[in-house]
């Protein structure tokens, strides 16, 4: 807007062209715009309009993106909580007491002393210890 008044005030331009002594006493008559000025004004108007529209589009896009971002981060949050829940389940199932309970439920018993097969550097092998099949009944399950 601020650019427009310059074209509404042709008096200074006109004043420069005519005799200063005569014209200064009466209202100057607006000189007709030169032929090349109208397209220039149109161009400027177009640029301003286009700028405004671009700004509007950009603003809308940013606003739309912020909506998308919000919904995506909500989704991330939800998935994160879901992951946390699953991790908790795994943690609880991995606890030694839970494993022991699960093993007992499947009829497993603690292993007896293991035997060891020792491979010497020269390739000979030696059995150390005496592996015995587990027979011990499961220990009484403690605390639920």
């Amino acid at each position: 807007m601020s650019a427009l008044p310059a074209y509404d005030r042709p008096q200074r331009v006109a004043g420069r062209r005519t005799e200063p002594t005569r014209v200064s006493l009466q209202r100057p008559v607006a000189a007709p715009a030169p032929a090349g000025r109208a397209p220039f004004v149109a161009l400027i108007l177009f640029v301003i309009g286009a700028g405004l529209i671009a700004l509007l589009v950009l603003n809308t896009a940013i606003a739309a993106d912020s909506f998308t971002e919000r919904s995506l981060s909500q989704q991330i949050e939800q998935l994160r909580l879901q992951e946390q829940e699953l991790q908790q389940e795994i943690g609880a199932a991995q606890a030694p007491a839970a494993l022991a309970r699960a093993a007992v439920e499947q009829g497993m018993v603690p292993a007896g002393p293991p035997g060891f097969l020792i491979v010497h550097p020269d390739g000979t092998t030696q059995v150390v210890g005496e592996a015995k099949p587990a027979t011990r009944p499961p220990p009484p399950a403690r605390r639920n």
Partner: protein, 584 residues
């Protein structure tokens, strides 16, 4: 009336006065407005602009996750999850009755109890804490007036009872109250962050407006030297021991011989770290570091270490040992009556003769005995990274009574923690080098960097030859004629020492009726030690000795430790032990 009227009319009709009056009024008003303008825009302008921005600004506290506590294999023993607290603002609740009825089923509580909280004075009351986010969402979906949610952290202890006494627990404000949670609170606690942004009408951040994010820095993780599976086995074994008649509690510690690291420690009855409120307050400690016991004959090991190191005896030295000996004002007896026996030094330890031990201690002298007791760490806390560690009780020898001088050599009149008991056997197993026990392996920063922990300073307490002789003598305990055949493990050579100590009766401050502590400390394999285990079983009403009560606990924990870690038997046979020279 009329003259006044006339005067007034006359004055008002004066145009100059009127103009001047009007001007004055206008100027006054303009001055006030102008002054106010300067005040608002110039003097207080910044304040109002800030207040306006404040209305749009939203500050969101970002809670910092508390660090995890891990076992040596990286299994989480304690970690934090995001949770929700539900609160009420009683001042904003329109229909307390309807609100209570709607909330009761979701909060698993009674509407009556909720009514009390919803109608309380004040503007804030917690209704539930540590809720799962999904559960809290269900409550927020009801859109009840005056009910809100807060983001908070909840501590999870997936292993529950396992290692609870070591790990400890936190209070509702997430500060550690016991165990590692307490000791390493500063390390585990993170620094909360803050997100500041300008908010539009619908609560959305305004793009390209003020926006600052200060990320929360999570706390560091603490990795322990504990082995979760061994810890569970230890607690199971103690629980089984605890089922014996007359047993009130039992404690055990497993150390790695070469490093002094604690692989498992605990006492029964323990507690569930996820529900510490479920037991008496005095059961929330870690008894292996805070509870002292009189070790009984386990302590003879130090008397023999001193006598060997000073060159007073060899394992084969012969002594004629009667079944009693007078020391000061008391007579010390052996646990069984016998005619004088020609024991070897090995036999005195293997058979656990009090009289023979006292005879050796008299040769050693009180000053040197105290020196050896202190070398093995008695009377001084080990410095393990756990709260409330006890020093144990060991008086300077100048203050020993005559009878104490007679009983300390076999472990009465001196107190130690089970951890100290394990530590002194670790020195013997480790060729005479005592590595003070440690339980924190490393601290891992939030960015994954490992923060070095000051390790313990190993110190030599015995010459390697002396400790080799002592290991030989301790192996006789679990062999033919020794006091602890029950501590044997198929295929492995085991060395150790039993103890049966009288327990003071807290009611009479005397030993009568106090029951016993059955103790056992030992290591395996005897010729290439890997693990040390010390055990104490407290029996106020029982009378079982260490060889009967504590040795089987040792066996079940040690055989798991050896098998689970793939320690093969050394394959060498135990040497012959000559306990007496009488039969020859």
């Amino acid at each position: 009336m009329s003259p006044r009227r006339g005067t007034r009319r006359l004055r008002l009709s004066d145009p100059h006065r009127r103009v001047r009056f009007g001007l004055a009024v206008v100027l006054t008003v303009l001055t006030i407005i102008g002054g106010r303008l300067v005040q608002l825009q110039g003097l207080d302008g910044m304040k109002y602009a800030a207040a306006a921005e404040e209305l749009r600004l939203t500050r969101l506290d970002l809670p910092a996750a508390r660090g995890q506590i891990l076992d040596r294999d990286g299994n989480a023993l304690a970690y934090s999850v995001e949770a929700r607290a539900i609160f009420a603002d009683p001042g904003m609740i329109v229909a307390p009755g309807r609100t209570a009825l709607a909330l009761a089923p979701l909060l698993a509580t009674s509407a009556d109890a909720l009514m009390g909280e919803l109608t309380a004075d004040g503007r804030f009351v917690y209704l539930a804490r540590g809720l799962d986010p999904a559960g809290a969402q269900a409550i927020m979906d009801l859109q009840l007036a005056g009910i809100g949610e807060l983001v908070e952290q909840r501590r999870e202890y997936p292993a529950e009872w396992t290692a609870a006494q070591v790990v400890g627990f936190v209070g509702q404000d997430d500060t550690g109250l016991a165990g590692i949670e307490d000791q390493y609170d500063d390390v585990l606690t993170g620094t909360p962050g803050q997100l500041v942004y300008e908010q539009g009408r619908f609560g959305l951040p305004i793009p390209a407006a003020t926006h600052s994010l200060e990320e929360a820095v999570p706390g560091s993780d603490v990795q322990l030297t504990l082995d979760q599976d061994l810890q569970f086995t230890l607690e199971q074994a103690l629980a089984v021991a605890n089922e014996n008649a007359g047993v009130s509690s039992a404690q055990a510690v497993v150390l790695d011989v070469a490093t002094g690291q604690v692989l498992a420690m605990g006492g029964s009855p323990g507690y569930n770290a996820a529900d510490p409120g479920g037991v008496r307050g005095d059961q929330l400690a870690n008894p292996t570091v805070s509870h002292v016991i009189e070790p009984g004959s386990v302590n003879k090991m130090i008397t023999f270490a001193g006598a060997l190191e000073e060159g007073l005896i060899t394992p084969e030295t012969e002594l004629t040992v009667p079944d009693n000996i007078a020391v000061s004002d008391i007579v010390i007896n052996d646990a069984w009556g016998h005619a004088p026996i020609h024991f070897t030094a090995t036999g005195i330890l293997g058979k656990s003769s009090n009289v023979g031990t006292v005879m050796l201690a008299q040769q050693l002298g009180n000053a040197r005995l105290e020196e050896y007791l202190r070398r093995f760490g008695l009377g001084t806390a080990t410095g393990i990274e756990l709260p409330a560690e006890s020093n144990g009780i060991l008086l300077p020898h100048e203050e020993w009574s005559g009878s104490q001088a007679g009983t300390i050599p076999f472990g009465q009149g001196v107190s130690m923690t089970v951890l100290q008991m394990a530590s002194m056997f670790q020195a013997v197993a480790n060729d005479g080098v005592l590595v003070p026990p440690r339980i924190v392996d490393q601290v891992i920063g939030p960015d994954g960097t490992v923060i070095d922990q000051p390790g313990s300073e190993p110190r030599r307490v015995l010459e390697p030859d002396t400790s080799a002789d002592l290991r030989y003598m301790l192996e006789s305990v679990t062999n033919e004629g020794g006091t602890a055949p029950l501590a044997r493990i198929d295929g492995y050579r085991v060395a150790g020492k039993t103890g049966t100590a009288q327990r003071p009766n807290p009611e009479c401050r005397c030993y009568a009726g106090g029951g016993y502590w059955a103790t056992f400390a030992g290591f395996a394999p005897a010729d290439d030690p890997r693990y040390v285990i010390a055990i104490s079983v407290e029996q106020p009403g029982g009378s079982g000795g260490g060889g009967v009560i504590a040795a089987p606990v040792f066996t079940s924990i040690m055989s798991f430790a050896l098998g689970d870690n793939g320690v093969a038997p050394t394959g060498t046979p135990s040497p012959e032990f000559r306990l007496t020279t009488d039969e020859d």
